[in-house]
């Protein structure tokens, strides 16, 4: 059992019945989401511009792969529309991470530097929950819509025919677990800024590491590729973030993705647990910056 401030608050919450505390947390989250939407709607033009600019990035990126498929029929065994399912999955997971976690975690290192974390610690709520979810960036969800259109369009053009029902059912689950894995890496990295003081390269680091997850894992092959693939599958499980949901939908007859899907459940639980441990350990070393 952890000692320290977080445990006290955890116990307060655990004192109540489990279901009511879940309901309470959901209610708090709902308020966060609503407030963020109100704020976003106050600056409506800005909201629309943000929507357009993030969507145009995605479309240009898609253009790049359209260009590549002019010169080849497949990338590591992914045909054009299979790969577009893969890209749509990347967009879905990323828009979830960008909408719910990224604006908050980016602010976390600033909270540490300025001492603003004091206020978060004082609130009668789980600190990790509070600092991870207090803002929702609604414009980032614009890509979610674009991704869904791309996904359904590509699914209709798969040469293997329509995906299985079980694949369609599991897909949202694995998109969600994928987002959780990326969040875990992010929050663990952010927590290290408690030890390191300011860590400006933090976000860059997260971006460059998760950059590996944006491609089919089959491309990491050969003398250097295979160990790289194993490290990013089993040690830091970022390769399964996109590959598992996309594989289940686009390549339903490849048994590899079903084994990986089983592994993904374990990997998500372990990464979330481990990142929470890192976060709580780091909180214990927090010494307020101000006053």
């Amino acid at each position: 059992m952890q000692r320290g401030t977080t445990t006290v608050r955890d116990n307060e919450i655990r004192g109540e019945t489990c279901s009511s505390s879940w309901a309470k947390y959901f209610q708090v989250f709902w308020t966060f989401a609503r407030n963020s939407l109100i704020r976003d709607m106050t600056f409506r033009v800005d909201f629309i511009i943000q929507l357009i600019s993030s969507t145009s990035f995605v479309i240009m990126n898609l253009g790049f792969y359209l260009l590549i498929y002019q010169y080849t029929n497949s990338i590591a065994g992914w045909s054009k529309f299979e790969f577009f399912v893969f890209i749509a999955t990347t967009m879905l997971v990323n828009s979830i991470v960008q909408a719910f976690f990224m604006p908050n975690v980016q602010e976390f290192s600033e909270l540490i530097r300025t001492g603003g974390l004091d206020f978060a610690l004082l609130k009668p709520i789980d600190t990790q929950f509070l600092i991870s979810l207090q803002k929702v960036s609604w414009p980032s969800l614009g890509n979610f819509g674009v991704a869904l259109i791309l996904l359904f369009y590509s699914l209709g053009h798969l040469s293997a025919g329509a995906p299985s029902w079980i694949g369609l059912l599991l897909y949202p689950v694995y998109v969600f677990t994928g987002a959780i894995i990326l969040y875990s890496v992010m929050i663990a990295l952010a927590a290290t800024s408690i030890w390191l003081g300011r860590n400006q390269s933090l976000y860059d680091f997260w971006f460059y590491i998760t950059n590996f997850s944006r491609y089919p894992m089959g491309i990491y092959d050969g003398q250097w590729g295979t160990p790289l693939r194993q490290v990013f599958t089993f040690a830091i499980p970022i390769l399964i973030v996109i590959n598992v949901p996309a594989g289940l939908l686009a390549k339903p007859f490849d048994p590899d993705y079903w084994y990986l899907a089983l592994f993904a459940v374990v990997a998500t639980a372990v990464s979330f647990w481990a990142s929470r441990r890192v976060f709580q350990r780091a909180l214990k070393s927090y010494r307020s910056a101000s006053s």
């Binding site: 253009g63 491309i219 092959d221």
Partner: protein, 271 residues
Amino acid sequence: MTAQILTWWTILRICIEERIVYRGDFALGTLMRFLPIVTQIFLWTAIFAAAGTGSIKGYTRNEMVAYYLLVMLARAFSSMPGLASGVTLQIRNGEIKKFLIQPIDLITFLLLGRVAHKMVYYLVAAAPFALVFFFCRNYFSGWPEPGVIAAFVISLVLGFLLGFFLEATIGMIGFWSLEVSSLLFIYMLFNFFFSGHMFPLDILPEPWFTLVDYLPLKYLAYFPAAIFLGKVSGPELVWGLLVEAAWVMLFIISSRFAMRNGFNRYSGYGG
């Protein structure tokens, strides 16, 4: 004249010292910037393996990887992180006022600051760059001729100037519109795709290539790499460098013009 040079030297020295404070963060950031190259190597290896042909639009796999490495080098010269947004921020929060009352020219000050920034960057980044290029030497088919190397170096220096004056001009738009972050995002987007950062521009089908070929953005990444790989040579190369120099002149003039008009428009409130 001597006083002028002394001022410049002082500005340069201050900016260098400012940069060195954050050297740890700097070195780490430089190394990490090579990580995307790793995925690019794997991606293109997979593409070439599936395509079955030895070359795509005249690029072999090795040339493709070499292209991405050279683009990293070109961007080390031409990319200006935070320049335009820094200018607009100074306009918005009123810091720009100091250039109105002090006998220092804003653009010269920014240019010297950028030169200092880049010098420190090369000092810190030289080792990681050399290391990566050494490991990847097999992707290159030997050194090009001295003339090509000279043209390559000229294109890098011109790329630096073009990147600087282009972004300085965009930053000056802050005098007319206080919120330019979305405009900067669009510029960044175009820069990313049409400078050749994402892929060699000449694999684009027509009419796209001709269109992009007319934009100044290609000099920020594609052009130097294309020179090194021998994709442009002879009169085409000389003509390219001349056009690039013309673009630099154009943006020097436009940034000056925008600054002068901006200063006339500017009104500062509060203390």
